[in-house]
Symmetry: C2
Subunit: 529 residues, 2 copies
């Protein structure tokens, strides 16, 4: 029997910053302050600072397997904290500041976080939160200006910068197994109770190598990548790992994600790729359309997290001269599932791309039986891979079936070229007169109308049919369209019984903390009989 004799080289996440510091020491992480100025640091210096944070955490008693929570926007200090926590084998639990104290307390109590690292701007919120989380011993503030500092005696609050010293001799990164946990993120819970996903060093490392492929996110050292997607939302889709890994510039907007702020940052930092949910690009587009701003450096926009309205995609590509890469993913997938290739000839808003090596997809019927052929047929989507969840945090049973497939809850079709098209959420299907209506298909038609900014379809209980669809629309600020016009356009394209019973106009579509349309809220408000 022959034995393999290649080096034992564990896949640890700190390697990304180690590599960047060594090979791209001067490439920068840039953070917007909101006033047009920026903070910037090279990867070499960032690694030094991050090691100092590791030393601080060690001095506070944080050990391998302990949890450190963060409640922070995308910033240099947040990136430093991530690597500081993960590098010593602790677990970084990212909390979403857009959730309520109750929701966050429930999550932090589950993870038994001992330290909370919080953006200056969120310190009051955090001070409230800490009262509900007995395990939290320390609250460390980042992102604050010296001039901002307040003395708040009697709280466990301290500015992280004040505590870190120069000595990092006793601290080193790595030395543990690649299957060790590195991060914890709870799902958005738009359709149920949030559940935790525990990423490992190996899973996020392999996720990074997957998205770096030329047919996926394809970042290079020449790129300046604007990470609008928050670090508390499924690892900012892996950008704080992937961009240092190739030595690209990582551009962080902090909490300043309005169109004007993003446009200024893109121009100033010569951003080449923007990454975020569709709504932020709508804000950017409205800004540039209103001001006539030009963003010549921007070549690509990678969108995900919610369906991409075709009209928005067309306007972005036309007005900004960019290529929009649509994608599909979820927290349970680390989070990238598929990304439409930059060079794909069949790019379209509804097309989510073909899986790259390391992700397997399967379509089944409602009973979980594999659909024959797998192509040009709609089914329930299952997924398998090194960056896919096996079981949720705190659960002792698998989230997968016996063959290791994870049920995404999405409905999908795969076309003849292997392109994935998400057609809806299985839980959102509306059953009318014993037949299924898919809200996503109606939303896609309405969303394509140039007057419409956002559209949502929900089911409402109906005594005769069981359920009937209701359409909720938010128009673009300068647009008008009558209900009759909407109905006219829908009647050509939909079976008559799919046409919604009612159209509700909303001034602003309610969004969940992750930026997706909050259907839970819509159902409570408009979906009752």
């Amino acid at each position: 029997m022959m034995h393999g004799t290649m080096q034992d080289y564990p896949l640890l996440l700190n390697s990304f910053l180690d590599h960047a510091a060594r090979w791209h020491s001067d490439a920068e992480v840039v953070t917007a302050r909101g006033d047009g100025s920026t903070d910037r640091v090279g990867y070499g210096a960032l690694r030094d600072r991050s090691l100092a944070v590791s030393a601080l955490l060690s001095s506070l008693g944080i050990r391998r397997g302990d949890t450190v929570a963060t409640l922070a926007w995308n910033s240099q200090a947040h990136v430093e904290t991530w690597y500081a926590v993960m590098g010593i084998g602790a677990v970084c639990h990212t909390l979403n500041p857009r959730l309520t104290i109750d929701q966050l307390a429930s999550m932090a109590n589950q993870s038994t976080a001992r330290v909370l690292v919080v953006s200056h701007h969120l310190r009051k919120f955090a001070t409230e939160l800490v009262k509900h989380v007995p395990s939290l011993e320390r609250l460390l503030i980042i992102d604050g200006e010296i001039s901002d500092r307040v003395s708040e005696s009697g709280t466990p609050l301290a500015y992280l910068d004040d505590l870190i010293g120069g000595a990092t001799d006793g601290v080193s990164w790595g030395g543990f197994d690649e299957t060790a946990p590195a991060g914890l993120c709870f799902t958005s819970g738009t359709t149920g109770a949030p559940k935790g996903v525990t990423y490992t060093h190996r899973s996020s490392f392999l996720h990074t190598l997957r998205i770096l492929q030329a047919d996926v996110m394809a970042f290079t050292k020449s790129d300046a990548v604007l990470a609008v997607v928050p670090m508390f939302h499924a690892n900012a889709w892996g950008l704080p790992f992937a961009v240092p890994a190739v030595g690209g510039k990582l551009v962080l907007p902090s909490r300043h994600t309005d169109g004007a702020s993003l446009a200024r940052l893109i121009e100033k930092e010569a951003v080449t790729v923007g990454v975020g949910v569709p709504t932020v690009w709508m804000g950017l587009l409205e800004h540039v359309e209103a001001t006539g701003a030009m963003l010549p450096s921007l070549r690509r926009i990678i969108v995900g997290g919610a369906p991409m309205p075709p009209a928005l995609m067309a306007r972005l590509e036309e007005r900004l001269g960019v290529v929009v890469q649509t994608s599909w993913g979820m927290t349970e997938l680390s989070p990238s599932g598929t990304v439409a290739s930059f060079s794909a000839p069949d790019r379209a808003a509804h097309m989510a791309g073909t899986p790259a090596i390391g992700v397997d997809l399967l379509l089944t019927d409602a009973d979980g039986c594999e659909l024959p052929g797998q192509r040009n047929v709609e089914g329930h989507l299952w997924v398998r891979g090194a960056a896919v969840i096996e079981r949720y945090f705190g659960q002792n049973f698998a989230a997968t079936n016996a063959q290791g497939w994870f049920p995404t809850g999405d409905l999908a079709r795969i076309d003849g070229q292997g392109g994935l098209i998400i057609t809806g959420r299985s839980k959102e299907l509306i059953k009318s007169g014993g037949e299924w209506i898919n809200p996503a298909e109606i939303e896609s038609l309405v969303g394509a109308m140039p007057e419409v900014s956002q559209a949502a379809v929900i089911g409402r209980p109906d005594t005769k049919w069981g359920e009937r669809p209701i359409l909720l629309v938010e128009l673009r600020s300068d647009a008008r369209i009558s209900d009759e016009e909407i109905y006219d356009r829908l009647r050509d394209r939909l079976a008559s019984w799919w046409v919604p019973d009612e159209i509700v106009r909303l001034g602003a579509m309610p969004l969940a903390p992750t930026g997706k349309i909050d259907k839970l809220h819509l159902r409570e408000r408009y979906g009752l009989a």
Copy 2:
């Protein structure tokens, strides 16, 4: 203590073909026949055939950990054999047909190969070889035409196609650990006895993910990749893994690697990327320069395995309108170390690129002590990574130092931007009057002369100085240059004592079986006192 809860998804090499068959079933592997015609197969059908070969090997008693040797050119059947062997956990030992029977017998006896898969064209050679390798039970011929078949009774020879049946129900791929051995390749032995490198599924999988990055080889599903580098030479630099992994077209020249054959294949298959050693591109260039052929589909040429002459690089880029990506690697590195980025602003023949994530480089002095700063200083090059050798085949001691670094035997410099420049081989340094002369620097100057096709500098024992350099040159077919002219150009650029004592004209530079200049042979013929 928190536990990671992501899926257990082993990194096995059969996944590449599984993925290609599932998602890029119609993308093709194309093999040149030499008469202008080609064989072609989609990944879906190729996987079916490969499973049938697995079934055949199983029926011949091949089990996990057993060795199957191949002695074959780059062809579809060779690719099928690779996946068939590796998929069932056996080890694929690639033999180089350009070596002697004695050399091959020594290697095959070390690996105790039980089956030899051989190209039709090499069957007589293989029949000789098998007499010297007692462990070889079967000889299976691939790449043969029906019309070619000969009956040779009394030998263990059979045509593989005649033996494979339809039933593959009992065969499946995978189910073993990712650290299992997958391939065995011996070093070229241009400067010493060949040593075996045992690749594992994990090491070659991670190597593949590395070269697929946008800043490395950057293959996409839109690419047609011409693999001129042989499969018996360090896994054809990983192309039979990387190209199916993204669903690109894999174009194989078989043994027809002359300029005319390559040009015809590139044109016919709309090849976008060519991969091979510098000499094959010289052949292609001379053909297109002589015939006026145009190859508009070709966008990139990736070269490695030997220093790239600057004049050849300039001519290729100018005449073919391609970007030449230089690289550095070795069998012990699976084999890619660094590749110059497609978009690198500092592309140059001597520049080998910056390491991608997963490869660490270190420069030391002759005693193995780390050089301070690591930049703009010449040193001995060490390497570390998941695809780097830990120990040679059959050896029970590490090939690395105590910190896990593998000594490459190369001399190198790293510039301020992290670009690697190989400056020579430590074993080839010439000691003259107590000082070192680096042959590679002289070769680089001579190689840049437009009249020169290839240049080599070796040391010759000298009673007064210890050693003195001798220059051997092969001119381009239509070129003339006197010794005096060569000396004139060198004197401007070299210290006087570096100028070679003698210039020897060669009609053809002797090449080792891997296509590199055979310095062992040159030293025996011209390097004696």
